[in-house]
Symmetry: C2
Amino acid sequence: MSVTIKDIAKLAGVSHTTVSRAMNDSPLINDETKLRIRALAEQLGYTPNLYAKSLVSDRSHHVGLFFTTLYTGTSAGFFHDAVRGVSEVLRSGYQLVVKGIDDCRAGGFHTITSKSFDGIIAVSQSEEDDDFLASVREKGIPLVVLNRQLEEGQCLNIVSDEAEGVRQAVGYLLKLGHENVAMIAGKPGFKSAVVRRSGYEEALAAAGIDVRRDYVAAGEYTVESGLAAMRRLLRLRERPTAVFCANDQMALGAMKAIAEAGLRAPEDIAVAGFDDDVFAAYVTPALTTVRRPIAEMSRMAAQRLLQEIEQGRPAPETVYVRTELVVRESAAPPQKPGM
Amino acid sequence: MSVTIKDIAKLAGVSHTTVSRAMNDSPLINDETKLRIRALAEQLGYTPNLYAKSLVSDRSHHVGLFFTTLYTGTSAGFFHDAVRGVSEVLRSGYQLVVKGIDDCRAGGFHTITSKSFDGIIAVSQSEEDDDFLASVREKGIPLVVLNRQLEEGQCLNIVSDEAEGVRQAVGYLLKLGHENVAMIAGKPGFKSAVVRRSGYEEALAAAGIDVRRDYVAAGEYTVESGLAAMRRLLRLRERPTAVFCANDQMALGAMKAIAEAGLRAPEDIAVAGFDDDVFAAYVTPALTTVRRPIAEMSRMAAQRLLQEIEQGRPAPETVYVRTELVVRESAAPPQKPGM
DNA sequence: CCACACTTTGCACACGTGAACAATCCGTCC
DNA sequence: GGACGGATTGTTCACGTGTGCAAAGTGTGG
């Protein structure tokens, strides 16, 4: 049995109201009794029952961090960075509940109420999440959406400018002198897959190069799928001399396929990735990629969410966070024909 | 404002108790009224207030998943696998709260009470967590400890037999013919670092080889630290021909250092890792390593915890999960001298 | 000495839910 | 016809906390 304010009240010979006031720094109490009661509470190891508090105060002290899915499609590095960033800001003031949106959908999002969450951060990777986001907004729960861009003005939306990041990477490959630049695309249904592909096409168009359909190989954001996609690209009659991969895991798979085929990166085929995953700097050759500051974005999301919870609804703006091209070793100029 | 059972009661012309009974499938109610009330509840979009339920039923519907730290020392793949495994079992029946033990310590674990958590899974990597574990047990919260072995009989403890795993890996290197086998050790203070080092020493002892102090390089479980440690090992006068790394991230760094030095793995130096991290199969050369079934372990932990919550305390046993040597390409027999 | 203000405390209720107990209705059996 | 029992519903209280309002105590100024 745990200690309640009534227990303390009885021992201190006061009413439970007085104890409540002592614990909450109310001005309606004598300093002396406050200290006396607090000492007693400390001694008895009193911890308030947060559920009772929640019931009366309508504050749950829980923040939800929801991902499109916890299973395939969410890379470990991305997931870890996001949880860390949010957790760092919340520390012990709030409890962080981590969930996959797909796991909740079965119950029609019934378990998600304004009573059970003070606020929600949704790390959205797909338009499939829209029903979830609508449900959250409808219930009036403070919401920040991370990673995927929404229609303007729905809620606070923090995204990296992915298309720009991809243009940087593909532009870099083109500047090195590559003309046959292929792409391994992301998981179908994921918005980022579409955006990154557009960035690729725009970069080519800006250089006056036509997009070849057979140069875009479908992937799934997993290492395996990158391996398989690269194998297909290598079988093409006019083999690409460079490949941009929609994330680093697939780039890793692609490099594996290149090695398998007896070729070398970057000499025979230049490779660029996206995400700057934990391992990117340390594979051989070190991966040239685009960094998205996930941890920073999630920290910002958490800060803004707390602000919204504690001070009320801010303007629903869209915040763009800059990506950064990280040049390492996996991309080099093409070999001259005949060399 | 959200709908409560009292609202429904008023509209249906019954008492709130009757509504409660309708929602909870009580036998003390007429089927007809039950259906009528349920239809009404559905129509009004009623969702029960879990905090009120918690208050009266002493069940919080929250399960805690605690890591030693969410920051350095916990690799992304490990973290992701653990959260996924637990989440998969819990699905939507419970809310999963993810936290770092270090983040809670500041508040003296005051926020962790039997009222706020129905059960806790601790993924412990260090003896520093003992104060936390003691605090949880003292409060009578069902507890499963994952990953680190405890004194027998404290609570349900699920661990992989890491020493055996290391012996397999080092034994494999020895069997290939290596005599100068070095090790890059784990983060000081982490129990796994000690256990894995012991495994290494035992394997050498079993083969009648003395442990050389200069062959054990300190690491931190990060890729960078593996890189730095390997650089140090490469500077030794009698260079090792094989190196066992206490995790895959450090093995990645080690391979990087080997490439930097103009050497090749596995031809010049054989490398073996530990964990079978997501990227292990896809780096070049593919990493020979030891697989720990983290996802399976965490699924088991979640299942056993639910069982304990719902059916009462089971025997506090220690469950060993077998590790598995995964032979890939990064380890090969040593080159003959003079070749 | 009284009126008034201020400080400090307690009483009673509310939050939303579940459960023990009482009350009512209906049918059955002796 | 009265006693009994089962089915169904309502009344009341409890869970632990915060708050509006009343009450008691203290001091101050006229």
